[in-house]
């Protein structure tokens, strides 16, 4: 396994186990490398769009589907609370965990709350819709807005 893969897995598995972003120290410890090496790997993983970093270059804003900061899309599973980057990622968290989960979000226009149960085979029947105002080819022009 490459060093970058070890760092990637350390980041993602920390999110999966805790619901919050790991510190560089935690990632380095888990990946078995120095903090400087972990931060260098962050840059390469960012170039592959597997991580989105804060401006400090060391705090993880996104390790999709997980968000490193609180959002309106909350996913609860086995007593752990996760934040998702967007509606797509809200379903992405149970898809990644392969566990039962409940998504708590809202209608962006009316504010009506959404509580959606999801199993490893998919969401319960639901007639809500998903809308993205940005065409696919432009998503990464501003991924935080997207």
């Amino acid at each position: 396994m490459t060093a970058d893969t070890q760092v990637k897995l350390a980041v993602y598995r920390h999110f999966a186990e805790t619901g919050v972003r790991p510190s560089p120290h935690e990632v380095a410890e888990r990946a078995g490398c120095e903090i400087r090496e972990a931060l260098d790997a962050y840059q390469r993983l960012g170039a592959q769009r597997l991580l989105v970093l804060e401006s400090d270059g060391s705090s993880i804003r996104m390790a999709s589907p997980f968000s490193g900061v609180p959002t309106q899309h909350v996913v609860e599973s086995e007593g752990i609370r996760y934040f998702a980057n967007c509606a797509w990622d809200a379903l992405g968290i149970p898809a990644a965990l392969h566990r039962n989960a409940t998504i708590h979000s809202r209608c962006e226009q009316s504010g009506e709350p959404l509580h959606l149960r999801v199993s490893p085979s998919g969401p319960e029947p639901c007639d809500w819709v998903f809308h993205c105002p940005v065409p696919a080819a432009e998503w990464w022009d501003d991924i935080v807005f997207t």
Binding site: C86, A87, R106, E108, Q109, L116, W128, W139
Partner: protein, 76 residues
């Protein structure tokens, strides 16, 4: 990328914010996208889908509008 209670709420939101109404995605389609992107994300050999895979995933879910064309090869 947002949830809406109905198509009517989407139209209201787009009008209020000056955005065009884009193709709507149903929840079963969104689950298809979520699993295609993230089902292996915690595994060692996980990777993001490539451009051709992305087109195939979208088409397989009935998302064939130009809106979904990853023409820059950088989607996802």
């Amino acid at each position: 990328m947002l949830f809406f209670r109905s198509e009517e709420r989407v139209r209201e939101w787009c009008e209020a914010h000056g955005h065009p109404v884009r193709p709507l995605v149903r929840m079963n389609q969104l689950w298809g996208l979520a699993t295609a992107w993230y089902a292996t994300r915690l595994q060692e050999d996980s990777r993001r889908p490539g451009p051709d895979e992305i087109r195939s995933i979208f088409a397989g879910l009935g998302l064939a509008d130009d809106f979904w064309d990853p023409s820059s090869n950088d989607v996802g």
